[in-house]
């Protein structure tokens, strides 16, 4: 092979290997291998002295050009591996400055999440007072006075003959009275129960109730809507169990259990080894409730449901003490940022 050809080959080979290096160290090695004092190019050029003077000058010029070109290539390639410090004083591992983001309370986040799902199905929001009348909280919802069903809900009473609502269903009583069907409403809010405060119970909690009244609403519609909600909120692929229950304002009434999303039904501590979690109550609005609000129960039917907020949040995030929600300890709040 002629000397110029040899130089050209070395150049091609060097360029190819520069392209393939993956670290600064190996690049440096490569540079020494080709351009070092005992490098390959130097070795080839040793043959220059054997050439005629004219040719020597010509080939020598070519070789020097090749060396400069390779030196430039090595420099360029080294740039790929340069550490930031070698360029500027920016350290991206330092935390950025400016405002930190505040943490949304997990109760509001959960309410938002539930409401968003029902918005998607065409429900609108309505709200009502926390300090309620006996009429809207109980009587309009078909709780007869002095009935055992009232014992199911330990009630706080306030001076002036009112009470603290025990569920957000009184908003249903009020809206039913005010409007004409079709109605498709959810009622998020605070509720109160006169219970001793413990890890499992608090005097206050949140609920999202909802109801739909129209012509020809059936239990199948209710099941469809609630199954869709559970899928959206808890995730796909979990079995649901509707079992008959009792609420004075719905008939038939049901409670819905969902297959435990932690153990997928196998049984664990959270589901108390039953494989199921109780998540909501529902039913067809009792005709007496519709009638009290001035709607013809032969013409209109409807369904109603109530979803807790703290309880599903506790299950979902494995929070083991309901008091944490109301202590508002920032170490708790900022976990859910």
């Amino acid at each position: 092979m002629s000397l110029p050809d040899e130089v050209a080959r070395l150049k091609r080979e060097a360029l190819e290997r520069i392209g393939k290096t993956d670290s600064l160290a190996s690049l440096k090695e490569l540079q020494v291998l080709y351009l070092g004092r005992k490098g390959l190019l130097t070795a080839v050029l040793k043959g220059l002295k054997d050439l005629p003077v004219d040719e020597r000058r010509h080939v020598g010029g070519q070789a020097n050009q090749c060396r400069r070109q390779l030196e430039e290539e090595f420099k360029q390639a080294a740039g790929r591996f340069a550490s930031p410090a070698s360029h500027t004083l920016i350290d991206p591992t330092l935390p950025g400055t400016g405002q930190r983001l505040g943490a949304a309370h997990i109760v509001s986040q959960t309410i938002d999440e539930i409401c968003r799902i029902f918005y998607g199905m065409g429900f609108e929001i309505a709200r009502g007072p926390d300090v309620e009348t006996d009429y809207y909280n109980f009587e309009a919802l078909n709780f007869p006075p002095d009935h055992p069903a009232r014992d199911m809900q330990d009630t706080f009473f306030v001076e002036g003959g009112r009470l603290l609502r025990t569920h957000t269903t009184p908003v249903q009583s009020r809206e039913l009275e005010k409007r004409k069907p079709p109605m498709k409403i959810i009622t998020p809010g605070k509720c109160f129960r006169n219970e001793a405060i413990s890890t499992r119970a608090h005097v206050s909690f949140h609920q999202v109730d909802g109801f739909l009244v129209d012509e020809d609403v059936s239990m199948a519609d209710m099941k469809g809507a609630l199954v869709a909600f559970c899928k959206a909120f808890f995730g796909e692929g979990l079995k649901l169990k509707f079992r008959p229950s009792y609420f004075p304002f719905t008939e038939p009434s049901a409670e819905v259990d969902i297959q435990c999303f932690l153990c997928r039904g196998k049984g664990c501590r959270v589901c108390q080894h039953t494989g199921w979690l109780e998540i909501l109550g529902c039913g067809m609005i009792d005709p007496a409730v519709l009638e009290k609000a001035g709607h013809d129960p032969e013409k209109y039917t409807g369904y109603a449901f109530g979803v807790g907020v703290e309880r599903p949040a506790m299950l979902k995030y494995r929070i083991d003490d309901i008091r944490l929600f109301f202590n508002n300890d920032v170490r708790f709040l900022r976990q859910f940022i």
Binding site: G122, V158, M183, F242, R243, E251, P252
Partner: protein, 794 residues
């Protein structure tokens, strides 16, 4: 409520496993919560004979018993008062685990090595009776396992019943649902009663003063009963129901109650005190001693069974001490009555007693179940206690309560459920539930009086879906109802406010809404409070009338846990009682609070969070919602420090306050560092929010910036300076900003140096230097004149 699994099998003939039975019942509305084996504490428990008893030196409460298991004789220490030589007893041997997690090991007690334990009912998990050991029959074979001897391989099913289903508070009631699920019929125990010639009516008469409270009262007389412990088959049924066996007479009334759901009461006829039963309301302050020995002073809310003179039983709740059945009772007056649910509810509340009887009556018993209940009990008195049942039921039932007949449209049922169940299937469900069915297109369903919860067609529809199962209802995928979701500005408003504040770095709190009246009075002495009449504690006895209350509590909690740097907000309600003509009033508010310092970071500049951190966040809200004329005016606010206390107005309406919490108030919630709060009332802010933005064309001509430094009295506010500049410069002043503020060295005491940058711009052309200078002269002139400012050279 607990019921024996074997009992349910006996009544239905079903061979389902306990788990299947529990699951199927749960899915038809009788929720089975728990299944336990009756033998769970009987492993390694044997029948043994007490052969010898010896005192233990130095211990007079315990004895050393030598017990014989047939294969060996063991020493065991026993403390029961009723242990005696020759008794057959249940012996827990080493390795057994009894109720209450008692593990039997070889144990040395007072120098005696004990090789087991003679068990009480409680230790065997049968009842709460721990008064002595369980004594077995004399012929019990020593060495046999207790489970085998008692033939007690059973399960206790625990049910969580809904208050509308009194009928399922009995074995037959639950069996009826079970049978209906399998399209079977319940087999009730047959009653084969042989009555004596004498008539009970010769011994007792019944009169009812208040037939609304007591629509029916029936009585039988049984003579010559022999009171003794019940046979095992009765005791086992009571045990699985969690009821303590007492004696055959009492146990039979309890057994029949468990069986058919109707509470009965047995009086000792010889101690009844007369030959007549009079049912009446108690007189005010009338005294009565219940059989648990406690004396009650009654009111007319209590219905009383009397002997014409004094009370003998609190009707439907508990019997009296004086006529209680005792060991020497021979003649029994057996009561089977029907009391109105609401009077029993009132009675038991007044007496403070909840009994098996009251909990059944107050949910609604069956007035027509009395015949079966009283005859079944009489039959057992005869067969088990050797009693002689007199003929005639003395039955006072002035107005017979008839079963209701309800029209039922199968089509309507399918419409409401969204199902396609055949009429024949519905008819079958009703007959399986022991309802009568007539009619063809519209069914006429006769509902027995044991189902007081069924009054209307919709209640029958529920029966259909309950037995058919919710799985028969498809999940419709049609989204019905209104298709458009109107949204309300209030909802957006709250949600947007939350997100703006989160963006400014404040953490969100959620309060429970209850508060402490005393602390609230310290914060706002003149503000009325909504008082809770039955609070859980004195610290939670009102509804909060300010969100500051909650914020201080939360800050106190956090500081106590060494979370020292806080920026918090809450959007929630404050509550007010009616005033003059107004009703109860709830006000949505937002509270912001800061305490401590900005976070320590690598750029240093840690500084205490202060007033401007609060107003900075508020200004983000002002910008977002475009609240007009948002202003702070010094004003004394009861819960704020005099030196830092402002009223906030927007659009000239008062909307809130901002300032520092004084030290004495802060200390009440264990806060020892400076806390600043702002509270806004949302309603007036919503009213002035969200004005429509009017687009201004982007500027075409260049701006001319000018800076200006002045020295003014410290009391002159930044707002006044900016306003003064704007007035003087007019429309040409595009923006006026304060960019430096200084007081201290080189500035006269009581004064401050203020640097102002003004940007001049005209929409109609480039401003000449002269024009700007002219404006600037007006501005300096005005500042000198209006604010007595001294213009500093640049």
């Amino acid at each position: 409520m607990k019921i024996s699994y074997n009992w349910l099998r006996e009544l239905t003939g079903l061979d389902w496993s306990p788990e299947e039975m529990g699951d199927r019942l749960t899915l038809c509305g009788t929720a089975c919560e728990h299944i336990e084996s009756t033998a769970r504490y009987m492993d390694r428990v044997l029948v043994a004979e007490v052969s010898e008893l010896h005192p233990v030196p130095g211990a007079d409460k315990i004895q050393r018993a030598v017990v014989d298991t047939g294969s060996e004789r063991l020493d065991v220490i026993c403390g029961a008062p009723n242990v005696a030589v020759g008794q057959k007893v249940p012996l827990a041997t080493i390795g057994a685990t009894l109720a209450g997690d008692i593990k039997i090991t070889k144990a040395k007690i007072r120098g005696v090595v004990s090789y087991g334990m003679i068990c009480s009912e409680r230790e065997l998990g049968l009842s709460d009776d721990h008064s002595g050991i369980l004594v077995l029959d004399p012929d019990a074979p020593a060495g046999k396992s207790l489970v085998e001897y008692l033939d007690f391989d059973d399960y206790m099913l625990t049910f969580e019943l809904t208050p509308n289903r009194p009928d399922s508070m009995s074995a037959i009631g639950i069996a009826r649902d079970l049978a209906a699920l399998a399209s079977l019929k319940v087999t009730r125990p047959t009653v084969d009663l042989s009555e004596s010639a004498e008539s009970a009516s010769d011994f007792i008469s019944v009169s009812i003063d208040d037939p609304l409270a007591c629509p029916r009262y029936a009585a039988r007389v049984i003579r010559n009963v022999k009171v003794a412990p019940s046979p095992w088959w009765i005791r086992k049924k009571l045990w699985t129901a969690g009821i303590r066996p007492i004696s055959n007479v009492v146990d039979i009334t309890n057994l029949v109650m468990l069986e058919c759901g109707h509470p009965l009461h047995a009086f000792d006829l010889d101690r009844f005190g007369s030959d007549r039963v009079v049912v009446r309301r108690a007189r005010d302050k009338e005294k009565f001693v219940t059989l648990d020995g406690s004396e009650h002073e009654l009111t007319e809310n209590v219905l009383l069974i009397t002997n014409g003179i004094t009370g003998v039983a609190a009707a439907g709740v508990m019997g009296g001490m004086d006529s209680e059945v005792e060991d020497n009772t021979t003649n029994v007056l057996l009561e089977a009555a029907f009391f109105d649910a609401s009077i029993i509810r009132k009675s038991r509340k007044e007496l403070g007693i909840v009994s098996e009887s009251s909990s059944r009556f107050e949910k609604g018993a069956d007035p027509n179940g009395i015949e079966y209940a009283i005859d079944r009990a009489a039959d057992l008195f005869c067969r088990v206690c050797g009693g002689e049942v007199l003929s005639t039921v003395v039955d006072c039932y002035p107005g017979r309560i008839e079963p209701k007949t309800i029209d039922f449209r199968p089509r309507r049922c399918n419409t409401v459920l969204g199902t396609d169940i055949s009429t024949d299937r519905m008819r079958r469900i009703f007959t399986d539930l022991e309802f009568g069915v007539g009619g063809s297109e519209t069914l006429e369903v006769t509902v027995p009086t044991f189902r007081p919860d069924i009054e209307r067609e919709i209640d029958l529809i529920e029966e259909v879906v309950r037995i058919e199962g919710f799985d028969s209802v498809e999940d419709s995928v049609v989204n019905i109802g209104a298709l458009f979701t109107p949204t309300h500005y209030e909802d957006h408003f709250n949600s947007e406010m939350r997100h703006v504040l989160l963006g400014t770095g404040f953490d969100e709190m959620v309060g429970h809404g209850l508060a402490d009246s005393r602390f609230a009075s310290l914060l706002n002495p003149d503000l009325p409070q909504v008082r809770i009449t039955n609070p859980v504690s004195e610290e939670l006895n009102i509804m909060r009338n300010s969100l500051v209350h909650t914020a201080l509590g939360v800050i106190g909690h956090n500081l106590a846990h060494r979370n020292m740097d806080l920026r918090l907000f809450e959007i929630g309600k404050a509550y007010f009682p009616p005033a003059d003509t107004s009703d109860f009033h709830e006000e949505e508010r937002v509270v912001l609070a800061v305490t401590g310092s900005t976070p320590r970071g690598w750029r240093g500049n840690v500084r205490p969070l202060d007033f401007y951190d609060l107003t900075g966040a508020l200004e983000c809200l002002v910008d977002h919602f475009r609240w007009p004329q948002f202003k702070f005016t010094p004003r004394r606010i009861s819960f704020l420090d005099e030196s830092l206390s402002f009223r906030i107005t927007a659009g000239n309406q008062p909307v809130g306050w901002v300032g520092r919490i004084p030290g004495n108030l802060a200390r009440k919630t264990d806060i020892k560092q400076s806390v600043l709060v702002a509270e806004l009332v949302l309603a007036p802010l919503i009213a002035v929010s969200g004005s429509l933005v009017q687009f201004r064309p982007l500027p075409v001509y260049p701006a001319a910036p000018r800076d200006l430094a002045i020295v003014v009295d410290q009391r002159v506010s930044a707002g006044e300076i900016v306003e003064c500049v704007r007035q003087a410069a007019g429309d040409l002043a595009e923006s006026v900003n304060i960019f430096d503020l200084y007081a201290g060295e080189q500035i006269e005491k009581g004064k401050k140096s203020v640097a102002i940058s003004i940007s001049y711009r005209s929409p109609s052309g480039s401003l000449s230097g002269d024009a700007v200078d002219e404006k600037q002269r007006l501005v300096t002139g005005s500042l000198k004149q209006m604010l007595l400012a001294e213009i500093r050279d640049k």
